[in-house]
Symmetry: C2
């Protein structure tokens, strides 16, 4: 059933915000006042610290509307926002969303976008407590600010990794990046074709990892239950190499990652093979996995293994030794970070 | 002395963030961890609530780089962000800044921008605790999230205005809008002129109000000292008419504003006269004044008057009577809101 197209101007700013905020009812005890005033009000408590993070997604750089359904985009924006709070070993509880909306965006698009936001919020137990919608003369811009809470002693900074600590990783790597490559391939192949039918069969997992990644708040919960506080923690947004190096830089240490322990999904290796790419490159530099990389003291090894959702992929070494990947034959390859520079070169 | 131009790619994302964050040292006791990790960490306390707000400024809609110096832009972005926290009668303490940066923006531009941010932060006693810098393929986008704290019983929502309450206003109205009109006039006149020399003499105040407005955190402080908690409060971003109507809508009440009590600066009326505009129109619909509109019970009249920085411009009436402007001869003119729709029509 085709939906109509309603121009945003028909609502006006205030009507639109009211309309879009309808589906959002607070779920968190700490949310005192959500959307509808100058600012949101959140309850503080003496034994918990507040954690705040902001992240943007810009059309043409971070997403392409030709293959990003608005509902998925809303979901992913929430994931991206709360993942940074999760990476502090804190529980995300509130988000605000600031949108810059160009005239090509309809009310129906925003409804779908916010349906995705609402879905992700419900799943994660997070409240959408505020926002700002501005006219944009250029593309769609999305900025999510996430607020979370944690006992101050539970907060995991990037800077606490110690010599001999185990390097732990949730989930698997590179699938999101290959999902993007798959989407780009189909777009290229089908350019100019009427009623295009892209071929994604067998690679649905890669698409899901790119279009609808989930932040690992479940792992924060598991760690809390197991009474494990990581010595350092970071989320995987720019690929494993970059994040390991961030931990090393902040903690003034080195690291060894074992190539054969790097978790890769079956579809990741299969599609990488199909496009003649080394899946390890996708894992190291691909980005947007939203998994957690963290360190724990050596003696917590058994407890970490018993969590089930975590792999031990290496260990922390002395600063002078640098950060390196160790191949099965014992060769060491120095890690190299990418990040923003890569994005700009993609322009 | 002309500055050179350094491309952002020379720094890379991580180097750039480190470089720009250098000038920011925490000033607030509640800032546990600022820039440099996945998220900022803020101390909570049992008797205070946390207030959070997000606001965007987009190039081509909210500002024009041909006449907005980067330092002023940084200053104003902070003002816009913290003004919403102030409007809850809370004290702003932290901000995060997310930037979308196009390739025309140099490192020197960002240095100046952040110098303005740092200046505004220092003045307001606020810490810049985090940020995100992304490549933008379109224009410059700025999103500021502000965090503040207040005793829960001190928080002023939009919804608490009661019948017969006095309507109070800080500062004066319309100057910012006329500052923008002045800048646009000079740009138009000087288009194509080599080495243009715009004529701003006598109107410096209007320029300052547009390019470098200050949030009224000083008023929150004065109210606290005088033990006055407004029954409702809002900041003036879209013009007086729109904000009075927001209070009326949220508080289910009407309002009467007296035309002759509307505070206008000398330069505002002078420049309005020069361009054949009614200064009252600028005051009602101009926007970006960042003054505070609030209500207090009738019996606080003397205390409000003694603050010195506040005018009483009207009073709250029954909902059925609506929101209206009362002229000196007793005529009533219904108020009309503008906001987003106006912005879109400006495109």
């Amino acid at each position: 059933m085709a939906k109509g197209r309603t121009e945003i101007a028909e609502y006006g700013e205030f009507g639109l915000i009211d309309h879009l905020a309808e589906g959002f009812k607070p779920q968190c005890k700490s949310t005192i006042c959500g959307v509808g005033d100058d600012a949101a009000v959140i309850e503080a408590s003496k034994d918990k610290a507040i954690v705040v993070s902001t992240d943007s997604m810009l059309e043409g750089v971070d997403f392409d509307l030709t293959y990003f359904p608005p509902k998925h985009l809303g979901y992913k924006a929430v994931t991206k926002g709360i993942s940074d709070v999760v990476a502090m070993n804190a529980t995300p509880e509130q988000i605000t969303i600031a949108l810059g909306v160009s005239s090509k965006i309809s009310v129906e698009f925003l409804e779908d976008f916010y349906a995705g936001v609402a879905f992700a919020c419900k799943e994660a137990g997070v409240d959408m407590v505020g926002g700002d919608t501005s006219a944009s003369v250029t593309g769609l811009t999305i900025t999510v600010t996430a607020v979370g809470r944690a006992k101050r002693s539970d907060i995991a900074y990037r800077s606490g990794a110690k010599m001999h600590d185990l390097i732990c990783l949730t989930g698997n790597l590179g699938a999101s990046y290959l999902g993007l490559r798959l989407l780009e391939r189909e777009r290229y192949v089908l350019e100019g074709v009427d009623n295009p039918q892209p071929q994604f069969e067998g690679y649905e997992y890669l698409l899901e990892r790119y279009l609808k990644p989930r932040a690992r708040y479940d792992v924060v919960e598991s760690l809390r239950k197991a009474k494990i506080v990581p010595t350092s923690m970071i989320d995987l947004t720019d690929g494993l190499a970059s994040e390991v190096m961030q931990i090393c830089k902040a903690s003034k240490c080195g690291a060894r990652i074992y190539l054969e322990r790097m978790p890769l999904a079956k579809q990741t290796t299969a599609f990488a093979e199909e496009i003649n790419m080394d899946p390890v490159v996708a894992a190291l530099n691909g980005g947007e996995d939203y998994e957690l990389l963290f360190t724990v003291p050596l003696e917590r090894r058994e407890e970490i293994m018993s969590l089930g959702c975590v792999d031990i992929i290496g260990h922390i070494t002395a600063e002078e030794s640098g950060a390196a990947l160790v191949t099965p034959d014992g060769k060491e390859i120095a890690l190299q970070a990418q990040g923003f520079v890569r994005e700009r070169h993609k322009e």
